[in-house]
Symmetry: C2
Subunit: 339 residues, 2 copies
DNA sequence: CTGTTAGCGCATTCAG
DNA sequence: CTGAATGCGCTAACAG
């Protein structure tokens, strides 16, 4: 049923409207002076011909794409089901859209796709980049060093050679505050379940715990997990089993781990929070599904995305941002049942 | 530190290599005959100059973009945390990448973004489209009617005017099978918790239940939920409370709902599965986190994405696909604890 | 206010 | 096998 309707170009519109195509271009790009009469005729022609400017041609002439790429780098073959990422995407999408940019997201989850995306970036695919590194592999970040387009990262990097600004949560503050919250409730025998070592967030959250514990901190109080998953929480609880009678609180690096700890503690016959309190981090959907419901540290991921987008927009506007600039977003404690 | 290195073009490479830029173009596009000598020099020049072809220019000249857009349409401001979508994305990304296409995903979650994406599509943004409609609003699909690019949908549509092929799971079969599984186990007093009415999957799953029940089916056995969430499952259990003593099985439209049912049943003092069996659908990560672990219908979402991509690739290759073509993917029962 | 012109960077004829 | 010429569809600078 497809009438192979020849591609309608700006010239067709011009002809139909009885003006030169330069005028149509001016009309399309808003600004300049086009007579009311011409405008009307052009508008009519565009409508009748169902004309839409060709994107590639416009990008080529303008040297800009009006798109921003959100790149998510994850471990090989892992899928992205983190609500925080999804929410950040929504926040960024909204902000960028309002500013006239189309956000497109790219997933780098294999060596191939990473290489392909690196190539894409070098070919001027987008006007700016939002970079989410959920993995240890930071290789993609280097790609941007040779590219003259602004980049904003979603977490502070421990690599000093990457100058890109970052927007992240005040992870240390959050974990410090919730640890103090436990201490103030008389929970004086705390242990910590740390996230994977490669993650800056993980490191920072542990740091917060240390700060709150001060003198009392002891390396034997912490279990180092390999990932952020529930099973890691279960393993941590098993690891601490011998001393469980002398422990009255678990501070966990995230909600998943906290749920794992609770599950295992329950199996061992301990009551949460009566015997042992447990706190999470993220306030993920899991937090309210857990039993008991998790007391956790909330972060507003939507505004994470929004703030990243705003920073990027400013940079694309030409505003200078100092190297290694970091913007930290606040967190808050959500009191539920587990602590 | 950015040395505003002038954009290096194909001409720079040609000059550096001592050939005309037509030759470089030929070299880049693989095919034709370029002497070994020239090839070597060009390769060297490209390397030294760190040349990467400009994307917009190439698209313009070639009339193709080498990208495929995966468009996700969701309810206003909802975020996408469905593991099935995430997995399908990964599967499609892999397949498309192997075929030389870059997959980019676009999110349509507001009226604005939907309009913007419609515009994008009409401007020849990509060579093909993968369309995931997670929402009632199917407006975006119409956009493609005027576009001469292949489209593949992720679920069968109930709208006859949309001719695009679709790849979906055999939802009816899956639900029929798991219902029979319960019946065979002697669970003869079943009720059904249906998903939101706007979803084709939801309708099809209900149909499967009806098929398995045959004569025994009774409208009073089904609760119609408004969404796919846990709370809907809880509400369903509350709704059925008066007759709970005479029910020995819940067949649920998805895992979330099943978890909600289990939670509420537990609160009411019923044991799952001893008193009442409960089944889910999707085999989402939630299924193994539930207590008891969910018996559910598994669907391989990664291959969902892969098959969609393969179909799209075939269409982009020029293969004809009949209107309303539907490819149904098999499901399987995963026996765990809840039934 | 509007028509004309010269590129944007590359693919692709067509000669040679 | 390779150089030169055209055009993809549009923007922007320049005259008028």
């Amino acid at each position: 049923m497809k009438t192979a309707q020849k591609k309608v170009t700006i010239r067709d519109v011009a002809q139909r409207a009885g003006v030169s195509y330069g005028t149509v271009s001016r009309y399309l790009n808003g600004n300049d002076h086009v007579s009311q009469d011409a405008s009307d005729r052009i508008a009519a022609a565009i409508d009748e011909l169902k004309y839409t400017p060709n994107r590639a041609a416009r990008s080529l002439a303008q040297q800009r794409t009006s798109t921003v790429a959100l790149i998510i780098q994850v471990e090989s073959n892992e899928t992205i089901v983190q609500s925080s990422v999804s929410e950040a995407m929504a926040g960024a999408n909204q902000t960028l859209g309002d500013a006239g940019y189309q956000m497109v997201t790219l997933i780098a989850n294999t060596e191939d796709s990473t290489r392909r995306i690196a190539q894409l970036v070098r070919s001027d695919f987008a006007d700016g980049y939002l970079l989410f590194s959920l993995s240890n592999d930071d290789s993609l970040a280097n790609t941007f060093l040779g590219v003259d387009r602004p980049v904003v990262r979603s977490e502070i990097s421990d690599r000093g050679d990457l100058p890109y600004p970052a927007v992240d949560f005040a992870n240390a503050d959050g974990q410090r505050n919730v640890t103090r919250y436990l201490l103030n409730k008389g929970r004086d025998a705390l242990v910590y379940v740390c996230g994977p070592g490669y993650s800056p967030s993980s490191v920072n959250r542990l740091e917060g715990f240390k700060q709150a514990m001060g003198e009392r901190f002891d390396e034997r109080q912490v279990y180092y997990a390999d990932d952020w998953e529930i099973t890691s929480g279960e393993m941590a609880a098993v690891e601490f089993q011998p001393m469980l009678d002398h422990i009255n609180g678990f501070v966990c690096a995230n909600d998943n781990i906290a749920v794992g700890v609770i599950n295992q503690l329950t199996r061992f016959g301990y009551r949460v929070p009566e015997d042992i309190a447990v706190t999470g981090f993220d306030d993920s959907p899991l937090a309210i599904m857990a039993n008991p419901k998790l007391t956790t540290v909330r972060q507003d991921s939507i505004s994470h995305g929004r703030v990243m987008a705003e920073l990027l927009l400013a940079m694309m506007r030409g505003e200078q941002v100092e190297d290694h600039y970091v913007r930290l977003l606040p967190t808050s404690i959500v009191e539920r049942e587990s602590a």
